[in-house]
Symmetry: C2
Subunit: 218 residues, 2 copies
């Protein structure tokens, strides 16, 4: 079974999962504190760093395991809005985007795909959540599909009940503003089994696993 | 840096990490309760199973990450003692050993290597712990080396201060007999930083990270 998975989604104590403003200079917006405990060096494995293997890093390292494709919202790919300018923009990540798989970017403004030598390719699709998952699962060839965010995009997939696994990390910071993850998701917990642990860093990790469909009234 | 790592080492409440008797019929000896919470299906990644992604499984899945070689004691490879009989024995694992890398089997009785199509090869070496690590790191080509056990073998590497990372899972069972992990290791904790979490299964996971050498008196 090809699952849809969300990894390393950081949420502040007051429910925000991204800042409000995304600019070329501030790709994660005005919410840098959300990511202060994140170690992006381990997303393909806990090896390759000299620092201790912590529970946080072990959980972050699930990101790349058995993933065959990603779906991301347009704002994760770039800060532009409207028709794409002819400026050569190919994402925030330079010559080595970390994905190493096909990536489907949700946008109403289509454009030709972009391919990188390391296996990453960006495909720009104007599709609803269900069709995007179908396309990505086809590209993933039996592996799982990661829903890459941002939070507005994740929320759409949650509302459509298209998320099989969600790894949240609750960060003890108060942002006061930004993009909320849980709007219009009242009762979300009824569809999931949630396991929670705290770690020494102050993060609280929650693993939300979709209960098998057919076993709930939803 | 190529690290030496131990993963998924289960220890009973009374300190045993293996049973006493290993036979062809009982590869893990008389200590089956030690492994009752283990899910070996995720050692190469949390994908590919339909069951929930739990914290236990996330931690088990570190096993294969960035590993380029394994070192194991002879008893992990087979129950024979003394010179190898000419019986075609090639380990417990059939045609698809899970290792997918070179594996160095510590034995005083050398024999030709055995190779499998999936990348696994067994090399039989009569070496002390330090020399075994040197050989395995060379074969690992910059990746990490897993110390695969059993517990008597792990204890030798711990005594020689050759372990960089150790993932223990304490199982709330009382065995009363078996192979003890911690004999002759008084003060082991002085060389490590230990992070501990409990999970809903009843397991206690401990991540032992060797403190950088040069910063302690050892």
């Amino acid at each position: 079974m090809s699952r849809t998975r969300v990894h390393n989604l950081f949420v502040s104590s007051d429910g925000y999962a991204a800042g409000n403003r995304v600019t070329f200079d501030a790709p994660i917006g005005d919410a840098r504190a959300l990511f202060s405990k994140f170690d992006g060096r381990v997303i393909h494995g806990i090896n390759g760093i000299d620092d201790p293997v912590t529970v946080d890093r072990a959980l972050f390292s699930m990101w790349g395991q058995g993933i065959g494709a990603e779906i991301m919202g347009r704002r994760k790919f770039g800060p532009q809005t409207g028709p794409w300018p002819d400026d050569g923009w190919a994402g925030w990540w330079g010559d080595e985007p970390p994905f190493r798989t096909p990536v489907f970017v949700l946008t109403h403004h289509r454009r030709p795909p972009i391919e990188f030598d390391n296996g990453t390719s960006f495909h720009f699709i104007d599709a609803n959540a269900q069709d995007a998952v179908t396309m990505a699962q086809h590209a993933a060839g039996g592996l799982d599909v990661r829903l890459g965010g941002g939070p507005s995009s994740i929320r759409q997939f949650l509302q459509a009940d298209l998320v099989d696994f969600l790894h949240l990390a609750i960060v003890p910071v108060v942002l006061g503003a930004g993009v909320r993850l849980f709007d219009d998701l009242v009762g979300l917990e009824d569809r999931f089994t949630v396991e929670t642990i705290g770690t020494t860093s102050g993060l609280t990790h929650q693993l939300w696993n979709r209960t098998p469909r057919g076993t709930t009234g939803i």
